[in-house]
């Protein structure tokens, strides 16, 4: 599979007087899962629709490998819209085969792919059932199959995990990871920040139509890491409260959570703690994605 980097630069979009996207720029790298988070109405769906050419932007550009995305490129895109939709009365496999053929696959090839993918997604026994007879969770799996069946180079998924039980989340996450390992560039939005945190390699945070943070998950974490530490020691941790440069946030017996005014202070505290007794754990507390999210959208 040829791989391409998807680049959005300076995308703006207004509905009437209301500006919904303002200078939105970010990249979706091949072989990586990019999480796209933002509150309701932040502009995620609008951004995705612009990438797919379903909406036209007022300004800015969408490029694949440095060249503007063409209609031909978009046939190699996969899309799962936020509002799910397949033909209710069409059989599952037939439906997926139809979509694969619309994307340019021959009949036999399309059938083989649809069957394999649906089986991988756990729908192997429901191939000849109509979409409307499936449970919501299974409809969701069929929808994911619809976006993946043509082996897309770029995969745009709007809330792929909403409405799935934890087992189904794992199945879908597995399928997405394998697509990424084949070299697909994947952008997915989700409100389930714990899932995004676990799954994504890169992260884009959107609020009120502007990009608030974008980059690799680990870099973002490091960037937003504070000098917050967690100490678990044998003795009573009450002494910490009198240490200069230390603000204790929580403490109970040998457990303490505190902010230090710098790495040196943290090291000094660790040495002091070891002097006072056995230390079971001393860890910098990484901010969770939820914390970073709250911080950047303010």
């Amino acid at each position: 599979m040829t791989t391409g980097q998807l680049e959005l630069s300076g995308i703006t979009k207004s509905y009437g007087d209301r500006r919904v996207l303002d200078d939105v720029s970010f990249e979706v790298a091949p072989g990586r899962l990019t999480g796209f988070v933002g509150g309701n109405g932040a502009g995620k769906t609008t951004t995705m629709r612009i990438v797919l050419g379903l909406l036209s932007a007022d300004g800015g550009s969408v490029a694949l490998d440095g060249a503007a995305v063409s209609a031909e490129d978009r046939r190699r895109f996969g899309y799962m819209p936020e509002e799910r939709g397949l033909y209710p009365k069409m059989k599952v496999q037939e439906q997926i085969v139809y979509l694969a053929r619309l994307h340019g696959f021959g009949k036999a090839d399309a059938e083989a792919r649809a069957t394999a993918l649906l089986t991988e997604l756990g729908l192997g026994e429901r191939l000849n059932d109509t979409i409307e007879s499936l449970s919501l969770g299974n409809q969701q799996r069929a929808q994911i199959a619809a976006s993946l069946v043509h082996d897309p180079e770029v995969l745009i998924l709007d809330e792929p995990f909403s409405g799935l039980d934890p087992l189904a989340v794992d199945v879908v996450a597995g399928v997405l990871q394998s697509a990424a390992s084949q070299g697909a560039a994947i952008l997915f939005s989700s409100h389930q920040l714990d899932v995004v945190e676990r799954l994504c390699d890169d992260l884009v945070i959107l609020a009120d139509g502007t990009i608030r943070a974008a980059g690799s998950r680990d870099a973002l974490r490091a960037q937003h890491a504070s000098d917050r530490y967690e100490l678990i020691s044998a003795g009573d941790a009450g002494w910490l409260r009198t240490e200069p440069g230390v603000t204790v946030l929580d403490f109970e017996g040998g457990y303490a959570l505190f902010d230090a005014d710098g790495p040196e202070t943290a090291q000094r505290v660790l040495r002091a703690a070891v002097d006072r007794g056995d230390v079971a754990s001393f860890t910098p507390a990484h901010p969770s994605l939820a914390q970073i999210f709250k911080e950047v959208i303010q």
């Binding site: 209609a71 033909y87 139809y98 619809a146 043509h150």
Partner: protein
């Protein structure tokens, strides 16, 4: 996903059009309601032609009682079943028991015989025995007015049924895709115009198949019942009807699709397609009311929406010159092209706008 995935043979837009058309056809053919109603329609058409054929061919013979003296009087009358009786008493008995409809008995009148009947005299007998003056008609009616009326209803109803059935199908299919949002997935693979073209072609094929099936049944029915005269005067109009219907339906289908794309719910189809439904109904009503009005028929035969009914009707009654259908067809094809252009624009602009019904002006603006 597999590592050795071959690059998809990027199919052309043409093959995508056929895929869409194929799906439209197969999903319609899978609908039991559609198959049953088509079957019933074909049966009704066949039954109508057969019944009409047999009754017109075998009008019941009039039964007449005669005596030996009057037997020669009725000999020349067509379609009469003669029973010879001995005298008046026997004839009256047969009349009262309704075994004969009339009796021709010797009488005192200038003709020398009297027609006797129970309640009223059969017109075929009275007419046959009357002396009529010579009549000369300068402009003979080319067709039987009753036949003309039935043919008018026939063309009108077939046009109405096929156009509204398949126009309705296309409208529903457009809204279904909008309502279920599958349209977003489709449009991420193919263009709106490709989708529209596939839908129009698919439904046109279905509609034409129905028309051709009806035409075939009508032809077979007419041959079986020996109505070769009607067949020979109806053959060319039926072929013209099929040709006009083809373009007329494409025109209507584009408009149906455009109108449907402006709403997002099945419940709104009726109100959005109302003006087009009117256009479909108009030729049916006009041709029934005005099938003997040459001016109205002439106008109808040139207006694109009613030409598929008006022109074949005029051809059937022999009022159209040979070049007239050609000119009308050119007008129809031109309007068809215009309707496709406008319809496609509305369709493209409206397809992804969900929620309330769009106004026409909004749909036409990009």
């Amino acid at each position: 996903m597999n590592a050795s995935a071959p690059a998809p043979s990027t199919g052309s837009a043409t093959s995508a059009v056929w895929l869409v058309a194929e799906r439209e056809i197969s999903s319609k053919l899978r609908s039991k309601a559609f198959l049953i109603s088509t079957g019933i329609l074909l049966l009704i058409a066949l039954a109508g032609i057969l019944i009409g054929g047999f009754t017109s061919k075998n009008p019941e013979a009039t039964t007449v009682a005669v005596t030996g003296e009057t037997a020669s009087v009725v000999e020349a009358l067509p379609n009469v079943k003669v029973t010879e009786v001995a005298d008046r008493a026997e004839a009256e008995e047969l009349l009262r028991s309704e075994e004969v409809e009339a009796a021709v008995l010797p009488g005192d009148g200038p003709l020398g015989y009297t027609v006797v009947a129970l309640t009223d005299a059969p017109s075929s007998i009275v007419g046959g025995l009357s002396v009529s003056p010579d009549v000369e008609i300068l402009q003979p009616a080319t067709t039987n007015p009753l036949l003309r009326y039935f043919i008018a209803i026939g063309f009108g109803i077939v046009f109405l049924m096929a156009a509204s059935t398949f126009g309705g199908t296309i409208a529903q299919s457009v809204v279904e895709e909008k309502q279920t949002r599958v349209v977003e997935v489709l449009l991420s693979a193919i263009s709106a115009r490709t989708l529209l073209a596939g839908k129009v072609i698919g439904n046109t094929i279905l509609a034409m198949a129905q028309i051709l099936a009806l035409a075939a049944i009508a032809t077979v029915g007419l041959i079986v019942t020996g109505q070769n005269e009607v067949l020979s005067s109806l053959g060319a109009p039926i072929i013209w009807f099929a040709v006009f219907f083809l373009f007329g339906f494409v025109l209507l289908a584009s408009l149906f699709a455009a109108a449907a794309s402006m709403v997002s719910r099945q419940e709104d189809i009726g109100s959005t397609t109302m003006p087009i439904t009117m256009l479909v109904m108009a030729p049916y009503i006009l041709v029934i009311v005005f099938n003997d009005n040459a001016l109205v028929l002439t106008i109808m035969s040139y207006v694109p929406f009613s030409a598929p009914v008006g022109m074949p009707m005029r051809l059937f009654v022999g009022e159209a010159q040979w070049w007239e259908p050609l000119i009308s067809l050119v007008i129809l094809v031109a309007s068809c092209v215009a309707a496709i252009a406008i319809g496609a624009k509305i369709y493209e602009n409206s397809l992804l706008r969900m929620g309330r019904k769009l106004k026409l002006a909004e749909a036409l603006r990009a």
